[in-house]
Structure formats: structure tokens, C-alpha cells
């Protein structure tokens, strides 16, 4: 059966990478087809990689650093606007829910011919609406203040 692995493959790659081969390993390479194949592929790739490393100049570190800083600012901005987007969505949902509840109540009383009695319920309705609005504002304000405090803490800790 044809072998597809040799336990000395790693040694061959290491020898090619470090340039330190032994006579014994060279002897093995002449008899082992798997290692000879590894030497051919790894040797070609290593020489090509060495050429690439000397030919190519990476972009300046400062350039990469500035790009990362810009990314960080972008992320901070996105983080800062996230509660606003969230609160806006919550407000919209509350307004829709409140409007639906108001319409439902109105039609219920109108159907029963109690439209006159609806006036009596108006105070309760307004109070419920006001309570929801206050809760939304309080939650939003707490979230914004908490976020602001966290960011201030982060700045002062640096």
C-alpha cells in the first residue's frame, strides 16, 4: 500500500525553515517519497515567501493605527446613538399602543351608547397616557445618563 504520511515530515519542514539539515535526514529524503514531496512543495513555498517578504513593504504602522482610531470613533458614535434609536422605537410603539387602546375604548363606549360616559373616563385615560409617557421619558433619561456616566468614567480612567 502506498504511504501518504511520514512521521518525519515535520522534521523536513523545520530543516527547510531553519536551513539546518542533517546527513541522516538527507539520507531519509532520498528514500521517502512523502518527505521528498514535502520538500518540493515546502521548499518552493518558502523560497517564494522569502522573496515576497523582501520585495514587499507593508503599509506604515501609523497609517494602520489611524485607520483603527477612525474605526474606534465610528464604533463609539454608533454606540452613543444606539439608545436614541432604541428610545425612538419604544416611543413609536407606545404611541401606537396608546392610540389603539384609545380608539378601542372610544368605540366600545360608542357601541353601548355610553358616549356621554366616555367623558367621565377621559380623566382616567389621560392619566394612564401620562403615566406611560413619564415611564418612557424616565427610562430613556436613565439609559442616556447611565451611558454618559459610563463614557465619562472610561475617559477619566485613561
Amino acid at each position: 500500500m502506498k504511504r501518504n504520511r511520514c512521521e518525519r515530515e515535520i522534521e523536513v519542514v523545520d530543516a527547510l525553515r531553519t536551513g539546518a539539515s542533517t546527513a541522516e535526514l538527507d539520507g531519509h529524503l532520498r528514500t521517502c517519497a512523502v518527505c521528498a514531496e514535502t520538500r518540493l512543495v515546502a521548499g518552493s513555498l518558502l523560497r517564494s515567501a522569502a522573496a515576497l517578504r523582501t520585495q514587499q513593504e507593508p503599509p506604515l504602522a501609523g497609517q494602520v493605527w489611524r485607520r483603527a482610531q477612525a474605526r474606534k470613533q465610528e464604533m463609539a458614535l454608533r454606540r452613543a446613538t444606539r439608545p436614541l434609536i432604541f428610545m425612538r422605537a419604544v416611543s413609536v410603539v407606545c404611541v401606537i399602543a396608546f392610540a389603539a387602546w384609545l380608539l378601542h375604548s372610544f368605540w366600545r363606549f360608542a357601541d353601548r351608547g355610553l358616549i356621554g360616559g366616555w367623558g367621565a373616563m377621559a380623566a382616567q385615560t389621560a392619566a394612564a397616557g401620562a403615566a406611560i409617557a413619564v415611564a418612557c421619558i424616565a427610562a430613556g433619561a436613565w439609559y442616556l445618563l447611565h451611558e454618559d456616566k459610563r463614557q465619562n468614567g472610561a475617559i477619566s480612567s485613561t
Binding site: 507593508p58 503599509p59 474605526r71 474606534k72
Partner: protein, 190 residues
């Protein structure tokens, strides 16, 4: 005892290991410290990205993105070797994302291949390697480079590429076989 260059980098790259421990990892490492990490690792990563994509412009872009992610993601504290492996992992993920999106999956034809055979053996070798790489799948190129150029173990490659060590062993064997078949005629010609 003299301090190794890798030890110096390890001492510098001390990432916060808890989210609340520091506001930002980028504030932990200053530009000068980043410079030393970059100087020690950028060339091998750029060579990897160029070798695997065959395109310098793409490699430059991915290299910058790799370091941006390192700085922004706040990885846990790691030594120089861990940082190197982490960078290769990010680079491999970026390559895979790019290929999944169908961007630049094809390896470009070596420009020198159209010209008559060159007397410079180094140039000829580059052409042979790039021609062989062009005929291979993106994943095979990654595997061969990480195993033979970077000298990573199967477990390390598996970690970098998101595969199992067993798959790496099998895929690497196939890739090596294929690459040898493509490179052998060139070697015999030489």
C-alpha cells in the same frame, strides 16, 4: 539574561481580559507599542495574504483590516506567539469572508508568465509557485502556506481556519499531493 524580541512584544501586548477592566484595549496599547508589534508581524502576514490571494492591493487592504480588528476587538492577554497566531486567524477569517462574498476568488495569472522564460531562477520560481497556486483552491493555498511557510501544527491550522485537526491532516495531504504534481514538472525543467 538577554530579552528575546518575542518576549519584548509579549510584555507589551498585555490585553485586558475583562470587558469592564478597561474602557478600551486601544487605550491600553499606545502607538509606539503597536509599532513594535506591527514591525514584528506585518511582513509575514502580508506575504501570507499576497501568497494566498495573488494580489498585492487586496493583501494590503486585508492586512490593514487585520490589525484594525486586533486593536478594536480587545482580545485577552496573550504572548507574542499567541498574538501572531491570533493575527493569522483574523487574516484567514477575512480571506474566507471575502471568498464567501464571491470577491476575487480567482487567483490572477502571473504577469511574468506571458513573457519569455527568464534567466533569473528566482523569478522563474515565483512564476512556478504562482502558477501552481492559481490552479489550487483558496483553502488549499491557505493550508499549504500556514503549514509549510509558517510552520504551524495541524492543531494551530485547525484553530486558524475553523476546521478540525483531522480535516486539516486530510486536506493538507491532498493539497500537498496536488501542489507537488503542479510543481514537479517545473522542477524537472529547471
Amino acid at each position: 539574561m538577554p530579552m528575546h524580541k518575542s518576549d519584548a512584544i509579549a510584555a507589551q501586548v498585555a490585553w485586558p481580559d475583562q470587558e469592564g477592566a478597561a474602557a478600551d484595549a486601544m487605550d491600553e496599547i499606545d502607538e509606539q507599542e503597536f509599532q513594535s508589534v506591527y514591525d514584528a508581524t506585518a511582513r509575514p502576514i502580508l506575504a501570507y495574504l499576497t501568497g494566498v490571494t495573488g494580489r498585492r492591493d487586496v493583501a494590503d487592504d486585508l492586512l490593514q483590516e487585520t490589525y484594525c480588528r486586533l486593536l478594536v476587538r480587545r482580545p485577552p492577554a496573550m504572548d507574542a506567539e499567541g498574538t501572531r497566531r491570533y493575527l493569522f486567524r483574523i487574516a484567514s477569517n477575512l480571506l474566507r469572508d471575502r471568498w464567501r462574498r464571491g470577491e476575487d476568488r480567482a487567483y490572477p495569472e502571473p504577469a511574468e508568465a506571458a513573457s519569455p522564460p527568464n534567466a533569473d531562477t528566482q523569478v522563474n520560481l515565483q512564476i512556478d509557485v504562482r502558477t501552481a497556486m492559481r490552479a489550487m483552491k483558496p483553502r488549499e493555498r491557505e493550508l499549504l502556506w500556514l503549514a509549510y511557510v509558517e510552520g504551524m501544527s495541524h492543531a494551530e491550522i485547525a484553530e486558524a481556519m475553523g476546521l478540525s485537526a483531522m480535516s486539516v491532516r486530510l486536506l493538507l495531504f491532498r493539497a500537498r499531493k496536488r501542489a507537488a504534481g503542479l510543481l514537479r514538472p517545473a522542477e524537472e525543467r529547471a
